[in-house]
Each structure stands twice: as structure tokens, then as C-alpha cells.
Amino acid sequence: MRYSGFKVIKEALTGHRGWTPAWRDPAPQAEYDVIIIGGGGHGLATAYYLAKEFGGTRIAVLEKGWIGGGNVGRNTTIIRSNYLLDGNEPFYEFSLKLWEGLEQDFNYNAMVSQRGILNLIHTDAQRDAFTRRGNGMILNGADAELLSVEQIRKRYPFLNFNDARFPIKGGLAQHRGGTVRHDAVAWGYARGADQRGVDIIQNCEVTGFRIENGVCKGVETSRGFIAAKKVGCAVAGSSGRLMAKAGMRLPIESHVLQAFVSEGLKPVLPGVITFGAGHFYCSQSDKGGLVFGGDIDGYNSYAQRGNLPVVEDVAEGGMALFPGLGRVRLLRMWGGIMDMSMDGSPIIDRTHIEGLYFNGGWCYGGFKATPASGWCFAHLLATDAPHPVATAYRFDRFEKGRMIDEKGMGAQPNLH
């Protein structure tokens, strides 16, 4: 079924009887060519592109709960490609380009909204670093603009320009950045993959890998053994737990990142804005809620919830930047598990086990990476070679000293 305005009108006039399931609920088959573990954004995107772009057939996505229930279902919806390092920027720019055509591509309105992202500058050193970053972005084919205080004041007159502890001195804008309706990304990919024959199997938990002589033959699941020629893992947040079942230790820690939404408000923010002197970033959803977040709690956790100090820290940042937020109410706070890697950058690579592939370590940048991650992982699964924009995302970069450390924090996952 193809979605369109005409279809909506037609269904409205005929009592909505014609809508069919957005994806099937098939029983698992005994064997697949490729199994993707993880029915989140990355897993579903991988399956979608594998089927659509790489001619894959006999593909299954195994999800232990409901699809889209991981970080694609609980992030702050931002897309951008404003990275500093050459190991990252081409990948995220590829991702942003995919976002730009995504809805037409998978025939689902995920509300990709390129209303821009603005990173504020508060010190001269920050300006130097952002200048380097903005130049790197443009040299990699992305867009960037350095804004003066006056330009920012025009767009955001309500920010604290008067009595700020750390005054705003400028900003780096990426106008093509923005937000996306996060759940719809999972559903759009799921529907697209399903239409191309991918079996999406919910409530199917992988309990182990069948590995014989260093070759992965399939997976043990809560619904029995399923054989596969190739198995790709895309379970960021649970990477450590899953890969341990294959006997692997990862350069990744699991941390909790909290996020927040306010009550619905009439339009407040025209785009995404990031405070540069504290932990606060914010956008506004189409429904009117301010969606905001800050830093991770900072300790290893699988609890999917955090604690008050970080909530307060984020609110402090918010009030420091935008003192008119005082009477806006926080509606809901939640936490997701982040795969915090040792350099803050992801891994898309083969493992030392033949037939077993890994995609993870997305830190808190996984959502914006979803299309490119899916595409590149599909490329790797289909061709056994990394996609040109993801060549740096290797396991061995740590042993070889080729870290991709955007923040320069070293092997300290909670600081990335």
C-alpha cells in the first residue's frame, strides 16, 4: 500500500476500513541469509537498505521486545552533520543527505524538519574550535555558517544577552540540521523493509550465538534456533551484553542519558539550540513540547533511568541560557542506555568471528546516524567491505592508536 494524501481522503470517506498493517508479524523461518539482531532504527534501516539497495533477500530482523523500543524511541530527535573530524564528517553528511530524501524514499512522513541547529560560542577558544569545525564541514561538502551575536539576537531575542555568567559570543549554525519524528523513523523503515519481504520478528530475544570453528552459524533465540549465513548486531545500548554471548569484550561502556520534554506550548523555538557553557540543548516538537537534554549521568548503567543531579544540571543550563523557561513545566523525563565508546565514535565492522558483524558504540549520536548507519552496515554485510564513508569505524583503531576523538577526552567514555 502506498501512502498519500489521496489515500487518506479516500479512507476517510470509506470509514478507514482499507488500512492494512504497517508491517506483518511473521513467524521466524528456520534459516535466513542475513539476520539483523535489533529492531531499532539502525537494525530496521540496515534491513531496509539491504533489501532495497543491495538486493538482499531472506532477511530477518529479530527484536526482543517491540520494534523501535530502544534509543530510536527515546532520543531528542536531532539530526545534524556538524562534526569536526574527517573520520566522522563524511559519514554524518551522508546520513544527513539520506534524511533529506528519506520520506519520499520510504513513503512515510517522518517529519524531517530542517529548521537548523545552532551551537553557541561563549569563549574565544570555542570560536577557534568552531571555526575549524565549520571549515571542516564545508570542506567535506556540508553546510555551516558562523553567526555573530547580533544575528543570534535577531533569531533568538529571548536568550540571555544581558546578565549571562558566560555571555554568548557567537554561534556555529548548520541550517540543514533539524529534527525528525523519531518513532516514525522506525516505523517507516519497518514498513519499507516489510514491503520488501524482510521478516520483522518482535518478541524474539537472542539468547546466544551458534559458533562453530570460528564461524557464526546462526542464533539461539527465545523462539528457537535460527540459522543464518550472516548475522549483524545492531543493538546499541545492549552491545556489551549481546556480544558477551559471542565471547567478545568491547571498547564500549553502557551509560544512561536522560532526556526531557515539557508540556506543549505554542511556538517557542524555531530550531535546535545548544548552550556552549553548560549542558543544555533544546528543540520544539511539532506537538509543541520542548525536547531537551544535557549530559549523561556519568556512571555505567543499564537502568534506563537517571538521577536528579543531572536533571538539575540540565535545568540550570536551560535557565542560564533562556531565563523565560522558568515557568515552563517539565512533563516527562526518561533515560536510555548509551553505548559509550572509548573515543566517542561508533564501530561498524566485522568481528573476528566469521559471519558475525557489529554495529554499535553510537554514544548519544545514534539517532542522526540512523540512515547512514543502516546503509553502511548493509554495505558491509552485503559486500564484506566497509562503505567509503565508514572506513574509520574499525575495532582495531584503539589498538593501533587511530582514535576518532571529537571531544579529545581520551579513553574516558563518560566524558564523550
Binding site: E263, V268, G288, N307, A320, G324
Partner: protein, 985 residues
């Protein structure tokens, strides 16, 4: 101004007459009213518009679960959108406006959406608005955004202040209804430290809204007696207007106290609200239960409300939304509402009970086995249609309809740590599961014990049990005689029959049909249901609607409600103002300010200050006539290099390292050797992280065999100290070394320039010989100044000039800068700020924060030879990894523009001449740049691929971001005095 719907009695203060406005119209209410009760008293039923279809809506509840009656409270900078009229305490002069409507609440043009509701079903927007692609941001989205949202903000800074605080107790009792009061009294009498918190401004919970008696007293009076006793106990803190918003780890609860929200303006100096972080040894949830509606055709008209809320308005606030009322329910409690209304003189036109065997408990007409299948009335209900047991339809006129689908225990907080509630078939409700937060128990209606007697006894018993865990003996209270009715309910979620839509989530306009559509499209997991239909995502988080929605889904899937499960309950329990979460950390008070010892003096000089981390440092010192910062900075640089300049460098971190193994310890901390540094000498040191990347640089001065003073960069002072403590305690615990951070103890000034020695000689006591022979470059020592003040002197140089750093006890820093400046007058001494400091260090080619950016190695800095291979030091092993030791790696170089009038820009990228400027050809980047007044042109430091071998090459510095491309020549990073003759002079 008549309060036409005000009844007699109630727990309000009729002597207090309060004036207020709603949508500009004046009304009166009484002390003890909420905005909702006061509006109802004045015959106002229409209070809001729904989110999507802009349907007219009235108040549904009498508490914080309210989905409909949301208003913009107050005006000006204090405007508060989405405020529940049901919890807003009335005060004299209160102003409220309806929201999300245009032009008026009664006539809302956006209600046109309702006409097109067939097209606007759940998730319709995912299926359309995709063509043409560019129209989303330009047309569709702005349209949707304007229509969406609820209230609006003022955009002005919040004029009120907020506080935060920390409380500690043995037992935190959450909720002051019958169970909570009984628990607090039990614990209070046992001598435990108790906090009793309740969101209401009148304690007693449902006791205030019922006609039930407790012992000899009315429920409300009994509550008042208990509260009075608790208030007398020094070990009990009673906190009304305080909502416990969340359960966090290890017995910590967040609570928001609304200190001044019931006042027009907070008293001077007092906060509007306080965020309390309560650390409890045990906690007891006595949060009661929330009534749930039944969905039926057109069940959202103003005047249709929860039956228990109707009862609460009548009993507590002495108001009724109308004089003719119908009650519709599936349980015995609905009948209690009818009886109470009758008792207060409200006409109960009928009680419609879906149960064929239901019995009346008072003198009203009971329509047993019947269902409400429709309602009339556009801006307020006028009547209902009832399908009788006989199959006939009967129309009954009424101005209000009370609906009861049963009560949901308020399990919210038990699920904040991801515990799951359990379904209990006998009471048709979810109750707290076994995996709630450690230390939290539950009593009363929150556990599904709905009678007053069971609430009283369970509260007391649970409190005693919790205290027993802590070793505090408590006796359960004697139980007064009171109501103890069993629960009788037949689960019933929605009426199948009906022409109109049956509303589940009234704020987000989710209907039974929407749930059916979600099911049809395979959004069947409760989480998919929620996210696809937006059920339960409104400001009430589905407190009254979630269960109905998932019950409908359970029906459709044929699964039990228990198996269907709930979505996740997340904090906060009710929405919380961001202001209170930030407390006092806003504006200039966002973070503390660190001031240097010369701050006061610098201020007197008119210095321009800059934030450097938490520090405020003088950036430059403008003199009269200087109109541009560069003039001041150039002057400061030139004067320093020509004669002498003084800069406050106190902000650099200082760590006192003492002990028998101090030298051996530093030898491990620094990549270069420190074991053999002589006493009285300073050495530059480079610290690596364990991953081999440069962490920090600075100097270490050896004051004695067993005593060093390490300096760090300003930015890394805290990190380096922590790192050294880690090494000391965790890596080499048996080294005899002690660390103390002494950054603030010493006011330290750099005195730099050819005349620095002569200047210092005027200040340093004559016993100390400052000659080049006695005190050469990199010497250090403890001295006295100005006739005996203890001080430290280091002959180190960041500027590249003959220079010293002199340190005196901080309290004398102010006097010292004045003395130094006076002593320097004859040399035309200048004070210089961080800008001049930066210019001079770039001229000298010293790396600083811009170069030590966390990705640079010693090799990048041109210091590879400093990393000793003959000793163990942190980072040395991993610094040799192949990716970090490539010969053509980025190396620190100097750059100067080929055309001296052009500017070198930090952040520009470097391209080999003749290549296309793109990422593939990228040769490096400029880290720091400045105008050198000594050289008369701009200069820069850069990391350039294979830089060491490219001296003399002209390359291109490109900055597409700023549109500035400049040809630059690669030169030595040491622009000034490359041989270091000046600093050794």
C-alpha cells in the same frame, strides 16, 4: 457576580471573598477554592479546548490528574501556560485566560478541525504531507505548529526566584489522606524523623471530599485533628503544597514545594517554589487512587466529569456544576456520589449503572443494566441518552454527568525505577508490583485498599513495619470506627453503541476508534499504541485515560489486560517548573565566580574581564584614548618586550607535592625525567594520559629534596590533581607522596621583560641575590619581599622574555600588585591581560589550550624526544602505537602571511598550494593566531602534516566559513628570539 452554583457548608472560608478574572470576566470565589471550584460556583462549565480538534471541554477531575481545564495563569512575565484549574489555588486578583483557542473560548475558529476529524485520525500525518518535499518546512509544518501546542509563554525572564534544599528523614510519607495521616502519626509518636508531604493545600485527601465520619468526627475534622498533633511534634515535618515528583536511587525522592503560588507575588527574598531532595531511610506511598472514566459517545462535553470529582466539589467546595445531574457507573462508589449530591440538595435525575443487579443506596431513580449512549449540548451538556435494560432509549435532561469506571491505585512512584504494576482482577485495577523502589512500601488506596478503615489501618501498620526495619519500635494506632465498604465493580471500559466519538484521552483527542485503527495497522504493543495515537502523552500523562485505551486494545487483541501491560510511568508525577529545577543557578549566579587576587586593583584600572573557566581574568587594560582592544593589547605586548609588564597568573593550577618519593612519583607522572632535578630548579614537564595523548603541561619546581610545586594549566588544574591522586592511591599506593592543591593560596604574578630583574630587585629583600649567576633561568626559591613577607620566586618565562613569577600569600596579592606597579613606574611598567599573554606565547611558539586539545601527541607538539623510553611513565607505552607515531604526522609550525597585510585565522584549514580545497587534500589546521605588534603582521601556530620538513613552503590557509583564503609561509613556531637568549639574559 453571583456564585449561583454555590451550595452550603464545605471546607471553604466564606468570610474571605476573593476576586478573580477568567478571560477578562470578573468573578468571586472564597478562600479554599481552586480556580476550577470557583468557576463552577459561578456557573462556568466551559474551561478549555482540546489539543487537536479544539473541542469544548470542561473540568473532568478535582485534582492534579486533570486533562481538560488548563489555563494560562497570571499575566506579564509571570504567565504560566497549561495550569490546571483544579489545582490552582484561588487568590485575590488571580487572572486566568483560556488557551489554545481563537478568537474566543466559546467560538474557536480552529474547531473546524473537528469537522474534518474523519481525515485527521491517529497517525494521519505519517501518511501525507510528503509532496512536494520542500513544502514540509515551509508550509505544512508551520501550519501544524501554530495549531498545535497548548498555552503560550511570555518569553520574558521569570521574575521570581527559586530555591533548592536537602532534607533527611527516617520515614517519608507521601500523601496525607487517611493512610498517610495514620502512618505519619504512628511514626511521629514513635519518635522517628518523619516528613509528611502532600500536593494539596488542605491535608486529609479524600477525607475532605467525603461525608464519611471517623470515630466521632467528620473525616475532615479528624484529619484536621491529626494534622494539628503532627504539627506539634518536633520530629515531624508536615509539608503541604508539596508534590513528591519522583523516586530516585537509594531512598532519594524529589519534591517540589509551592511556597508562594497561592500568593499574587512571592514575599521579598522568598522563593516561588523549592525543590527538595529528600534522603529517606524508608518511604511510604499513600498517594490514594484516581477515578477513571468510561468512554461513550460524546462523553467529552463540558459538565461531564468523574463522579468522585462531582462529589468532591459538592462536599469540599460546596459547588455543583449544575442543579440536575445524572450519574453513570459500573461500581458501587458511583452511587456514593449520587447519595452525597442528593444530600446537598442537588437533583439526581438518574443513576445509570451497567450492572443489572445494582441496588440504590438513596432516594434516586436507578437505571440498572443501562448504558449512556449519547449526550447533547455543544458548550455544555444538556442531556443524555440512555439505553435502558429493556432496550428502550430514554432521554434525560441534565447539566452535569458524573461518570465512574472504577478507581486506579496511584502506583506512579512505585514504577519510577522501572517496576511494573500488577493487574488485580477482583478490583479491576493495577496495583503496585513487587519490584518497586527499595525501601518504599505502599498503603491505603494506592495498594487497592479502598475503604477508609483499611486505609487507616494499612497506613499505620506499614509505617510501623518500615520503622521496625530501622530498629525503631512503633505501635499501630487504635483504629477509630469508620467506613469499611467492600469494592464492588464490573469492569467496563467503553459503550459500544453510539453515533458520536467515544473519547479516551480527552486532552489529546484520542478515541476508541483511534485505538481500533492502531490495532488494524498493527500498532498493538501498548508502546506502539501510545506513540501512534498519542494516547497518554498529554500534560496529564494519561492518568485518567491510559487504562481505558489499553483495555480497548486488550479487547481487540483478545489478550488480558494483565498481558497487555502498561506503558512506563516516568517522573515527574506532575509537571514541574523548570525554574525550580534550576534553583538559584541562573543569570550571573549560574556558576560561582573565581576572582584573582588582583581583581579589585584591575577593576580600578578599568580592566576588561573575560571568563576563563570559572575565573574572571583581566583581558586587557584600556588606557584613555584607546578605542579598539588591539591598541591596548599591542601596547601591553610592546611595553613588556621593551621594558617590563606584569600579569596575574594565579589561575594556573598549583599542586604541592611532598614526601620521600615525590621525585620518583613525578618521574612517573611526567613523560620527561624529574628524578634528577636539582633543588632550587624548575623544569618544564609534559604529562600524558595513559593513551599517550598530551594531557597537560607546566612546570615543577623543586623547593626541597622532598618538596615540589607543580603548576598546571588553568583549565586542567582539577583534572591533573584528580589524576595525580589516582596515581598515588590506586597505582602506587606505597609511594611516600602527599598532594595538596594550593592554587588559591598564592597570588602569583608574572613579571616579564628586560627590566623585570631590576623591578623585582626593588621589591625582593636584599638578602636574596637575583643576579643571573645566583638566580639563573629555571631557578626557584623561597624568598621574602617588602621587608619580610614570605614569598616564592620562579625564573620561568611564558613570554620568552627575561621573566619571573613571584608568589605571595593571597591576602597580600592586592598590595603586591600595587607595590610592583609602583616599583615599575620608572621602567614604564604595564599590566597586561590574557590577550597580551596569548600574543606573546604565540610569538614564542608555546603550546596552550588550543594546541593541547586532547588529540595531540608529544610528536605533534614537536616534543617526541621528551618522552623518555628508559623509565615507566603514564602514557609512554601507548604513545608508541602506530597511529600516533607516523613520521608525516601533524607537527606544530609557525605561519606568517605572505602578504603581511593579510590576517591569519585560527580554525582555517591548510592546503598545499595548487590543490583543490577539500577534505581529501587537508594538510592540517591553524590552532592559534594573533597580530604580532613586534613583527608588524599576523602570525599563527598550526598543526601541519609533516610540518617539520616544510619550513619555507608557501601553503594556503582556507576558511570557506569566513570566506578568507590566505597564502602563508611555513616558519618556525618561535617567532621571537628562537635561540632563547632573552630569557636567559
Amino acid at each position: 457576580m453571583t456564585q449561583s452554583n454555590r451550595l452550603t457548608a464545605g471546607r471553604i472560608d466564606r468570610a474571605q471573598v476573593l476576586n478573580f478574572t477568567f478571560d477578562g470576566k470578573r468573578y468571586q470565589g472564597h478562600g479554599g477554592d481552586t480556580l476550577a471550584s470557583a468557576l463552577l460556583a459561578n456557573g462556568v462549565r466551559l474551561m478549555g479546548r482540546s489539543f487537536k480538534y479544539h473541542r469544548p471541554r470542561g473540568v473532568l477531575s478535582a485534582g492534579s490528574e486533570e486533562p481538560n481545564a488548563l489555563v494560562e495563569l497570571r499575566g506579564g512575565a509571570r504567565q504560566e501556560p497549561n495550569t490546571r484549574a483544579t489545582t490552582a489555588e484561588l487568590f485575590d486578583g488571580l487572572e486566568a485566560k483560556s488557551q489554545n483557542r481563537w478568537p474566543s473560548l466559546a467560538f474557536d475558529a480552529m474547531a473546524i478541525n473537528d469537522r474534518f476529524s474523519a481525515f485527521l485520525t491517529a497517525g494521519f500525518y505519517y501518511k501525507t504531507f510528503m509532496w512536494p518535499a520542500a513544502f514540509w518546512e515551509k508550509l505544512y509544518e508551520p501550519m501544524i505548529r501554530r495549531a498545535a501546542g497548548l498555552g503560550s509563554i511570555s518569553f520574558e525572564p521569570d521574575p521570581d526566584c527559586y530555591d533548592k534544599g536537602f532534607l533527611h528523614c527516617d520515614l517519608l510519607v507521601i500523601g496525607a489522606g487517611p493512610a498517610g495521616l495514620s502512618a505519619a502519626l504512628t511514626a511521629g509518636r514513635a519518635g522517628a524523623r518523619v516528613i509528611l508531604a502532600d500536593e494539596d493545600f488542605l491535608l486529609g485527601g479524600r477525607l475532605n471530599t467525603e461525608t464519611i465520619s471517623v470515630g466521632e468526627q467528620s473525616g475532615g475534622d479528624w484529619a484536621g485533628t491529626i494534622v494539628a498533633e503532627l504539627a506539634q511534634m518536633p520530629n515531624v515535618r508536615v509539608m503541604m503544597r508539596t508534590t513528591v515528583i519522583g523516586a530516585f536511587d537509594h531512598g532519594i525522592y524529589g519534591a517540589v514545594e509551592r511556597v508562594s503560588d497561592h500568593l499574587a507575588v512571592p514575599p521579598e527574598g522568598k522563593p516561588r517554589q523549592i525543590l527538595w531532595r529528600i534522603t529517606s531511610r524508608r518511604a511510604l506511598l499513600c498517594a490514594g487512587a484516581i477515578e477513571r472514566p468510561i468512554a461513550f459517545s460524546d462523553n467529552d462535553r463540558p459538565g461531564i466529569m468523574l463522579a468522585g470529582a462531582l462529589r468532591a466539589y459538592v462536599n469540599r467546595w460546596a459547588v455543583t456544576p449544575a442543579r440536575d445531574v445524572v450519574i453513570f457507573g459500573n461500581n458501587d462508589d458511583a452511587h456514593r456520589s449520587a447519595a452525597d449530591l442528593l444530600a446537598r440538595g442537588v437533583h439526581v435525575a438518574a443513576v445509570v449503572d451497567i450492572r443489572a443487579q445494582a441496588k440504590p443506596i438513596a432516594d434516586y431513580e436507578l437505571l440498572a443494566g443501562a448504558q449512556v449512549v449519547g449526550t447533547q449540548g455543544r458548550l455544555g451538556i444538556r442531556g443524555v441518552e440512555v439505553r435502558l435494560a429493556s432496550g428502550e432509549i430514554r432521554r434525560i435532561n441534565c447539566g452535569a454527568l458524573g461518570v465512574s469506571g472504577g478507581w486506579n491505585p496511584n502506583v506512579h512512584l512505585t514504577c519510577h525505577k522501572r517496576g511494573r504494576p500488577e493487574w488485580r482482577e477482583d478490583i479491576a485495577a493495577f496495583v503496585p508490583g513487587p519490584d518497586g523502589p527499595a525501601g518504599l512500601s505502599v498503603a491505603g488506596a494506592a495498594t487497592g485498599l479502598f475503604s477508609t478503615a483499611s486505609a487507616l489501618s494499612s497506613g499505620s501498620k506499614a509505617a510501623a513495619a518500615a520503622l521496625r526495619d530501622l530498629g525503631i519500635r512503633a505501635r499501630a494506632l487504635p483504629q477509630p470506627a469508620t467506613e469499611d465498604a467492600p469494592v464492588s465493580i464490573t469492569p467496563f471500559w467503553h459503550v459500544a453503541e453510539g453515533k458520536g466519538r467515544a473519547w479516551l484521552d480527552q486532552q489529546n483527542d484520542v478515541t476508541v476508534k483511534d485505538v481500533k485503527l492502531a490495532h488494524q495497522e498493527n500498532f498493538r504493543s501498548v508502546e506502539h499504541l501510545k506513540r501512534y495515537t498519542t494516547l497518554g502523552m498529554a500534560t496529564d500523562q494519561g492518568k485518567t485515560s491510559n487504562l481505558g485505551g489499553l483495555a480497548v486494545m486488550a479487547e481487540l487483541t483478545g489478550q488480558t489486560i494483565a498481558k497487555t501491560g502498561t506503558t512506563i510511568f516516568r517522573p515527574p508525577y506532575t509537571p514541574v517548573a523548570l525554574g525550580v529545577l534550576a534553583g538559584r543557578s541562573r543569570g550571573k549566579d549560574f556558576r560561582p565566580v573565581r576572582k584573582t587576587p588582583s581583581h579589585k586593583w584591575a577593576q580600578e584600572q578599568g580592566a576588561v574581564f573575560v571568563e576563563v573557566g570559572m575565573w574572571l581574568r583581566a583581558q586587557w587594560f584600556p588606557r584613555p584614548g584607546e578605542t579598539h582592544w588591539r591598541e591596548s593589547v599591542d601596547r601591553e605586548v610592546l611595553a613588556t618586550r621593551r621594558s617590563v609588564g606584569i600579569c596575574d597568573v594565579t589561575t594556573l593550577g598549583k599542586i604541592d607535592v611532598q614526601g620521600g618519593d615525590a621525585a620518583a612519583f613525578l618521574n612517573r607522572i611526567y613523560a620527561n625525567g624529574f628524578a634528577k632535578l636539582a633543588v632550587g630548579k624548575v623544569r618544564y614537564g609534559l604529562m600524558l594520559r595513559e593513551d599517550g595523548i598530551a594531557m597537560d603541561d607546566g612546570t615543577a619546581a623543586r623547593l626541597a629534596e622532598d618538596h615540589f610545586v607543580v603548576t598546571t594549566t588553568t583549565a586542567n588544574a582539577v583534572n591533573v590533581y584528580r589524576h595525580m591522586e589516582f596515581a598515588r592511591q590506586c597505582l602506587w599506593p606505597d609511594m611516600d607522596v602527599q598532594l595538596i592543591s594550593t592554587t588559591e593560596s598564592w597570588a602569583q604574578f608574572s613579571v616579564a621583560g628586560p627590566n623585570s630583574r631590576r623591578l623585582l630587585q626593588k621589591v625582593v629583600d636584599p638578602a636574596f641575590d637575583l643576579s643571573n649567576e645566583a638566580f639563573p633561568f629555571m631557578a626557584c626559591g623561597e624568598i621574602t619581599v617588602c621587608g619580610g613577607l614570605r614569598a616564592r620566586l620562579f625564573r620561568i618565562s611564558f613570554s620568552g622574555e627575561l621573566a619571573y613569577e613571584i608568589a605571595v600569600p593571597t591576602r597580600y596579592g592586592d598590595a603586591m600588585i600595587r607595590r610592583l606597579m609602583a616599583a615599575g613606574e620608572e621602567f614604564d611598567v604595564v599590566a597586561y591581560g590574557t590577550e597580551a599573554l596569548g600574543v606573546m606565547r604565540i610569538e614564542k611558539g608555546h603550546a596552550a589550550g588550543n594546541e593541547l586539545n586532547g588529540t595531540t601527541t608529544a610528536r605533534n607538539l614537536g616534543m617526541a624526544q621528551m618522552v623518555s623510553k628508559t623509565k615507566d611513565s603514564i602514557g609512554s607505552v601507548l604513545s608508541e602505537r602506530e597511529g600516533l607515531s607516523e613520521p608525516d604526522t601533524l607537527t606544530l609550525v609557525g605561519l606568517r602571511p605572505v602578504d603581511a597585510t593579510q590576517r591569519v585565522l585560527a580554525g582555517a584549514h591548510l592546503m598545499t598550494k595548487g590543490t583543490v580545497a577539500n577534505a581529501a587534500n587537508d594538510q592540517g589546521y591553524i590552532t592559534s593566531a594573533a597580530y604580532s605588534p613586534n613583527l608588524g603582521h599576523s602570525i599563527g601556530l598550526a598543526f601541519l602534516r609533516n610540518g617539520a620538513a616544510r619550513k619555507g613552503e608557501v601553503i594556503e590557509a582556507v576558511s570557506p566559513l569566513t570566506g578568507l583564503n590566505v597564502d602563508v609561509e611555513v616558519v618556525s613556531a618561535h617567532f621571537i628570539d628562537p635561540e632563547g637568549e632573552r630569557l636567559r639574559a
